[in-house]
């Protein structure tokens, strides 16, 4: 009889839904310091266990333990802390600005600040970044002016992108931050191409790409890993697993059966799986992968295990698909709190100094906000001249665009 039992389609479900208490008790989190640190020339095969492990440096008491401790100077740690605080303060301000109608849209990275900031600081300033829309911390950690970012969000007269892109789709050639696209995953294979070009030219620079765990289901994820593996491209391929792709938990992207880091094994690529809320672990893993890439040893995939604390975007209401207390119950905590605790434990920080820094970044954001708003907001203007809408479609404007510009007038 069993041979004739009906087939049954499996639809993955998250561990909890609205109205239920958030429960992460089934997450088996290894202790800080427990994961070995292989040499960068290890083969993917030799280090395949790391794809299922979780590299953690900061223990429950905020102490740095184990072989992955990057042993950073206190100054570097404070710089990271400040960039994370500034990112969060910036997010809060721009989120409010959207709610006030000053712009159409915004996306926060709350809870994921550690990923972008630690990774930016672990790379060289001229390494090339191919981000998604949730790595604003990369720009901030590279000291890119937040006024410029705000102008982009407002599509105002100071927007270098001339009001052409939705908010948060930043672009900064000077900061080595590639133009963000709304199409998910596309930048992942482009990062590999950039890295191949750097290798072709005998350059020293490497590339890093980011993708969310949801977008790993896109074909460009597969293209990127295949091409990076085939050509030993000097690239770091980062999967930010924040558990959620809008309303779909990571199991819908394939995370129920295997880690996202484990995807790399089939491509013969080393993978590191990292506590993405652990600044030190994230920094150390990125340094490891960067050293590997810079030594012509090829690409590394890093899964950054974290949690999307905020809504997907200002157009999203997470209370409709997940428990309200989920981020409070998230067992890996908050990246800012954890680094702060670590610094205090080192005797290199204090609650007072933290309060002072918090006020300072809030003041910086407030001042930048005023400066940006003086250049215009989407609702009130001034906006860039409308005739610029026809520019940059091509290097030279073709006859029909000149005619269309004239037809519009202005």
């Amino acid at each position: 009889m069993d041979r004739h039992r009906s087939l049954r389609l499996h639809i993955p479900e998250p561990r909890h839904r609205p109205g239920e208490p958030a429960d992460f008790s089934d997450l088996r989190l290894p202790k800080a310091g427990a994961v070995e640190r292989p040499p960068v020339h290890s083969s993917a095969f030799e280090m395949r266990d790391l794809a299922y492990a979780l590299i953690r440096v900061l223990d429950e008491d905020g102490r740095a333990v184990g072989p992955w401790d990057p042993q950073l100077e206190a100054d570097a740690l404070r710089r990271g802390l400040r960039a994370m605080l500034l990112t969060r303060a910036y997010d809060d301000r721009m989120y409010r600005a959207q709610r006030q109608g000053k712009t159409s849209f915004y996306m926060k990275c709350t809870g994921e600040e550690g990923v972008a900031v630690a990774q930016a600081l672990a790379l060289e300033p001229d390494d090339m970044l191919f981000p998604t829309y949730r790595q604003q911390g990369l720009l901030i950690a590279r000291d890119w002016p937040i006024v410029d970012m705000m102008c982009q969000v407002y599509s105002n007269s100071g927007d270098r992108l001339k009001g052409r892109q939705m908010p948060v789709m930043y672009s900064s050639r000077k900061a080595g931050f590639f133009s963000i696209s709304g199409n998910l995953g596309t930048q992942f294979s482009q990062a590999v191409g950039w890295a191949m070009a750097s290798a072709y030219k005998g350059d020293h620079r490497i590339a890093a790409g980011w993708i969310g765990e949801g977008a790993t289901a896109e074909p460009d994820f597969h293209y990127a890993l295949t091409f990076a593996s085939v050509y030993h491209a000097p690239v770091i391929l980062n999967v930010v697993n924040n558990q959620w792709a809008i309303s779909c938990y990571q199991g819908i992207a394939g995370g129920e059966e295997a880690t996202f880091a484990a995807r790399a094994i089939g491509y013969g690529m080393p993978a590191l799986r990292v506590d993405g809320n652990d600044f030190l672990a994230t920094y150390a893993a990125t340094r490891w992968a960067a050293e590997r890439a810079r030594s012509n040893l090829g690409a590394t995939l890093i899964e950054l295990f974290t949690h999307r604390v905020a809504a997907h975007s200002t157009a999203d209401d997470p209370s409709r698909y997940r428990p309200a207390d989920e981020s409070e119950k998230w067992p890996l905590g908050d990246p800012i709190e954890r680094l702060k605790q670590h610094l205090i434990g080192l005797g290199a920080w204090s609650e007072e100094r933290h309060e002072t820094m918090l006020k300072e970044v809030e003041e910086q954001v407030r001042a930048a906000g005023k400066e940006a708003e003086a250049l215009g907001t989407l609702d009130r203007g001034p906006l860039p001249p409308v005739s610029t809408m026809f520019e940059d479609v091509y290097k030279e404007m073709p006859w029909y665009l000149r005619r269309q510009r004239d037809e519009l007038g202005g």
Partner: protein, 334 residues
């Protein structure tokens, strides 16, 4: 040179002139391409510059966009235009819009070569003419040559162009001109004036049509294989056509088109691609908008039928000289 040799020569010239030119695609490297278009280039210029890729059109184009952002000038091959669809996201969403969305911070100076068109019993997936899918995309340029001389000059221009160019090569024309008479013996390019191709560097500007045959009675707008079909149809019907080989579909050479239709007062538009939503619809609209008071007859379109490209019914599908001649007579009778 035949068209394959002319294309090969264009790539050879550009590899020699510009160290940022790299060429890649499926079977492009060691083997020299399934149509021999890259034959010998890897041996001459090295593996780093001419190389084989995994079978992944989306990956080939994704990587090309990244290389372009770095500053290289990639020339990517898609083995058949019929297989360009997995790369559409990278072409439409990325390559075409990169300059615009970054306000000129980055651009995609890439050339995508893809053999196109039918008349070779290629069936559904080795015969398509996908150009209208690309002419609809702002930010892309679309080019289709009809002879070896133009093929080389246009490909050199495409590679040097700082905008992304989709370069369709009518594979039916690779070894010789084809006028739509499959029963006639094949004529090689060596017996045709346009098979005389200079060995060195020269270019033909993008966006410029070529009046390949001056005439008074009807303007025929064509590109690719149908340029040769149009000439045969004119000979067979005795109608004095002015034959415009568009060469670049986008940007299209409006001045040449308008000047010709204003002179003849009649217009027949040809393409192998399916009719509905084809590039002929855009051409027809442009002629109607710009030449309404010169027109003495409705604009005619002779195209592939609105069906997938069939295998057994190749010559009933392909818009051959008889169908073109019928349209020429029809506009003359109107």
């Amino acid at each position: 040179m035949n068209m394959v040799q002319a294309l090969n020569s264009a790539m050879d010239v550009m590899l020699s002139r510009d160290p940022d030119v790299v060429i890649f695609g499926e079977d492009v490297g060691y083997f020299g391409g399934v149509f021999r278009a890259t034959d010998g280039l890897q041996r001459k210029h090295g593996k780093q510059r001419v190389f084989d890729t995994p079978i992944a059109e989306g990956g080939i184009l994704g990587v090309a966009v990244g290389m372009g952002a770095y500053g290289l000038r990639p020339v990517a091959e898609v083995q058949f235009a019929d297989y360009i669809y997995p790369a559409m996201d990278q072409l439409i969403s990325e390559a075409a819009r990169l300059r615009y969305r970054s306000a000129g911070e980055w651009w995609a100076p890439l050339t995508v070569r893809a053999p196109c068109g039918g008349g070779i019993f290629g069936g559904q997936t080795h015969s398509q003419s996908a150009e209208a899918l690309f002419t609809h995309v702002c930010g892309l340029k679309t080019v289709i040559p009809s002879n070896p001389y133009d093929a080389k000059g246009l490909l050199v221009s495409a590679i040097e162009d700082d905008d992304p160019v989709v370069f369709f090569e009518p594979k039916r024309l690779y070894s010789g001109p084809f006028d739509g008479h499959p029963e006639k013996p094949a004529v090689p390019w060596s017996k045709h004036a346009l098979g005389e191709v200079p060995a060195g560097y020269y270019r033909i500007p993008l966006g410029k049509a070529s009046v390949v045959r001056a005439g008074e009675e009807v303007t025929v707008l064509a590109y690719g294989t149908l340029v040769h079909v149009a000439a045969a149809a004119a000979d067979e019907s005795g109608i004095d056509i002015e034959l415009v080989d568009l060469r670049s579909l986008r940007p299209v050479d409006i001045e040449t088109i308008v000047a010709s239709v204003q002179k003849t007062g009649r217009c027949v538009i040809l393409h192998e691609a399916t009719r509905t939503g084809g590039f002929g619809a855009e051409l027809s609209a442009l002629v109607q908008e710009h030449c309404f008071f010169s027109l003495e007859a409705p604009i005619e379109r002779v195209t592939g039928w609105d069906t997938p490209y069939p295998h057994a019914f190749e010559w009933q599908y392909f818009p051959g000289p008889a169908r073109v001649a019928r349209a020429l007579r029809k506009v003359m009778a109107a």
